[in-house]
Amino acid sequence: MTSTTEAQAAALTGGVHQEIITVEGAGKDYLALDGNVVRGLSPVDLTIERGAFVSLVGRSGCGKSTFLRLVAGLEKPTSGTIRIGTERVDGPPDSARYVFQNYNESLLPWRTVGDNIRFGLRHGHGAARASSKAQENELIQEHLEEVGLGGTFNRYPGELSGGMQQRVAIARALAALPELLLLDEPFSAVDALSRSTLQDLILRIWQEHGLTVLFVTHDIEEALYLSQRVIVLREKGGGVERDVTVDIPYPRRQVDFREDPRYLRLRREVLGLVLGTE
């Protein structure tokens, strides 16, 4: 694992505070079909620095996906505003790509796995990454191999196992090389080994390309391992409970990290918050 980029270092050390996401009192109330209003997320104030790796944890239904959807411009806040860079979010920002929680429904079922990745490449952020079809196919194959799906280029998503579909969705988002990567429980359907491989893959790409990552997970250890900040949300759309800084330098290593006493202390703290034993 290489060291962090400058921007990330800056974000960590508090050098140049360049916000990429600014959330000012943004909250969301849904109007359900039965006529009731459901609190999705209480108004939240928050800034996230460019190049940061931030995780969101909290109980099921606490508003993690809602927060991501607000940032992604897929949902209009019922109060407050959100800015990406200096621009107010009023629709999906150009720089962000989203891996949906229901990954299986977000793949294009009429395209092969390879063509789904092609979709990511062609609709990437910034310049086209391949100049010829052959080069593009090579790139696709690389992306597939990175997530352990080397032999599935010509299969249809409906013919893959759940975890394989999830990895296609991840590979597709990575192929787009966004500035801001929104991941909603992206590893929920993969095994332990794939999970740690993918964790390190995301970390590597984050560092190599200096992206900003917003990461939702139920696995607190994973959140701590990956991120610089872990934001704990309160139950039932209650807003931010605690904003925990994970002050452990990168590179982190799967085994060593889990024995680091700072990690163990943070783990106890965050677990306590989520499990409500604090």
Partner: protein, 287 residues
Amino acid sequence: MPDTIVTGTEAREAERKPPASGIRPVGRARRNARRYFRSRVSGWTLVALVVVLWELYSNVDYDPTISSPSRIAETWWGEATTGDLLNQLTITLRTMAEALALAVPLGVGIGFLMGRSQVIWGLLEPLVEILRLTPATAILPIYILFLGLGDQMKVAVFLTGGIFPMIINSYAGARGVSKILSETAQTFRLSWLQTQREIALPFAMPYILVGMRQSLGMSLVLAVVIGMLAGNDGIGYYLMFAQQNFNLRQLLAGVLTVAFVGYVFNAVFLLLERRVTRWRRSQTGAA
């Protein structure tokens, strides 16, 4: 442990704000209807524009075949108040209602069953397709031979003409049931009938409704055509009479009446459709 339910002013406030994609306030038929008609204003403006241009054109260069909107309106008013138009329309609508009362269960039933059972599909497909592709008006003499001149014959022609959109759409809907919902039905050991009622039918409903709306339109058109070919009353007869007497203004007044009645039916049906498939609003990205 209920979720946070906000009520009172807060709820009302939330509603006033532009709803997020896919989620809209519901259950307020009045407001619904308002929005419903509001959004078509542009289209009706377009129609009005066409009418105005037509009127202007007919002042410059009058053609008796297309007449002019004002004269047609005048004729329409005369026909509606002192003439026979509305009576004949009522008769046609009655026949149509009879035909639809038969065609809807039959069409939806056949199409749906064909979509749900390979055996029924195999058995009926050739017959259904051959009938679908046989022009009813060409073999009208045969209908008349067997069914006479009364409502029976008319209903039969409606059936063979207007039932197919329902069959085809219901079929497509019934066949499209997602694999995992079928499997859910299987693992919960639903009987064949239960599977149809609880899974396939609700799933196919949006398709079925599209088919029904098409059939509604087609049966109205057919009602006119049949009436013109073999009618003793009804709007088709009225139109044929106008045609035979070369009274084109009367003809146009009649045709526009039919179209307008059809439009109202269709709009009502669309409102119903929205109610029945309310749940879809959180599923589709339709604006």
